[in-house]
């Protein structure tokens, strides 16, 4: 996966959000730009939203929302920092969806799955869904700032530098957050694992 670093550009130094003042850019062909943005980043945004805590049933809508917001800001996104911009939007959308979700008190949906996902055999599916639901519980226990770093490094398999670039953070901050995130992960996995110790654990 390629991640274009945008750190250090004058525009970002001013705004800090991967955007530049609209008057400094010529108006691009927005439909084409949006199409390109979606085509290139849809998978990444979808995965990120899911891993940032958007319930499976809401990820499609949330993905749409991210791109609709991006569409609103297309002319202000600094070329080369599209993915960084999208991650920023995705973290906020996910945060909002999670809060709303908790208010709905529809906890049973937490374990829901997208019915249109490709389905392996039933046993594999059961195990995978169980493990995925447990991962949600572990990740939900992480503060958002730690979770973003953990997701991008451990699940999206980005490097520290790439993660830092996307989140517009210094490398040292990312490393620190990753270390703390791992501590939370180990703790929570232990708790979750203990909670199901009398049941069958997912896995071999």
């Amino acid at each position: 996966m390629s991640v274009t670093s945008s750190a250090g550009s004058p525009a970002e130094t001013e705004s800090g959000d991967g955007a530049v003042p609209s008057e400094t850019l010529a108006a691009p062909s927005q439909p084409l730009a949006l199409k390109s943005l979606v085509t290139e980043h849809l998978d990444f945004v979808w995965r990120s939203l899911r891993r940032f805590g958007v319930p499976a049933a809401d990820v499609d809508d949330a993905t749409q929302q991210v791109f609709l917001i991006a569409n609103d800001k297309l002319s202000r996104i600094n070329p080369g920092s599209e993915r960084s911009f999208l991650v920023g939007v995705a973290t906020r959308v996910a945060s909002h969806v999670r809060r709303s979700y908790h208010r709905r008190e529809a906890a049973e949906l937490r374990l829901s799955v997208n019915p249109h996902e490709a389905t392996p055999n039933p046993e594999e599916l059961t195990q995978r869904l169980e493990a995925r639901a447990l991962l949600d519980r572990v990740l939900d226990a992480m503060p958002e700032d730690l979770r973003a770093v953990f997701v991008l490094f451990e699940l999206e398999e980005l490097s520290i530098d790439q993660t830092a670039s996307l989140l517009l953070l210094p490398r040292g901050t990312v490393a620190t957050r990753l270390r703390r995130a791992r501590e939370v992960f180990h703790e929570q996995a232990k708790l979750v694992g203990a909670g199901i110790s009398t049941k069958r654990r997912p896995g071999p």
């Binding site: 899911r50 791109f67 969806v97 958002e144």
Partner: protein
């Protein structure tokens, strides 16, 4: 400076590794991809009928989050505008009589990264009333009628989200007058139950909710209504 070894490559026990592998398996399904592309107006398949389907789907999805004001709100807002305003900005098939102009699909700034630290939490996006134009009363085609219905429902919902339950109910009354054969009857009823509950008219909310459940015991909103009226009892929870 080298990166630390990923947990899956060392440092995770078998249980943790299984959780991480499950997370790495996240992937967009073909169906989701198609839905998303259509939703943002670049699916290339936006005929009038598919747009109507999309709008209806957005409404369904939205109402599952009714009372919370979440993602679906933007989807429905976008859908309404996609079929009701401005000329198309994208090349669309001739059959797309009701097109989805990209420029029109712009939500009212629910969220955007503004801080240097893009990962830092920010205030929730606004769930305030969305600025919608009144729909035309003389809708003729089924699509424009559906769009007008959605707009009317959205207006009621905006009032509900603003805790103006009286206005929400008036908007729903107006909706009922304008659309004697509504396509979004269930959605309007659920919103009415919500609004009544919000205004403290618990008995009325419970009665309407029970009637609704009698006709739609297994419908997509049944659970929502049950939780509102308290699982078979007459007590109604405020939203």
């Amino acid at each position: 400076m080298s990166d630390p070894v990923r947990l899956l490559d060392g440092g995770a026990d078998e249980f943790e590794a299984e959780l991480l592998r499950a997370g790495r398996a996240d992937a967009v399904s073909a169906h989701s991809r198609k839905q998303i592309l259509a939703g943002v107006g670049i699916g290339g398949l936006l005929t009038a009928s598919t747009m109507a389907t999309g709008v209806r789907a957005a409404a369904k999805g939205w109402l599952t989050t009714l009372g919370a004001g979440t993602v679906g709100a933007v989807a429905i807002w976008a859908s309404v505008h996609a079929v009701s305003s401005k000329p198309a900005a994208l090349p669309l098939p001739p059959a797309a009589k009701v097109a989805a102009p990209v420029q029109a699909i712009i939500p009212p700034k629910p969220a955007e990264p503004t801080a240097v630290n893009a990962a830092e939490p920010a205030p929730a996006p606004a769930t305030a009333p969305l600025p919608l134009k009144p729909a035309p009363h003389n809708a003729t085609t089924s699509d424009t009628s559906l769009t007008a219905e959605l707009t009317a429902i959205e207006q009621a919902r905006a009032a509900f989200l603003a805790h103006d339950y009286g206005q929400a109910l008036r908007s729903l009354d107006d909706y009922a007058r304008r659309f004697p054969k509504p396509q979004l009857r269930s959605e309007a009823t659920v919103l009415r139950v919500e609004s009544l509950a919000g205004r403290g008219e618990r008995e009325t909310a419970a009665r309407i909710g029970r009637d609704f459940l009698q006709n739609h015991p297994n419908g997509p909103y049944a659970q929502r209504v049950r939780s509102l009226i308290g699982e078979g009892s007459a007590s109604v929870h405020a939203p």
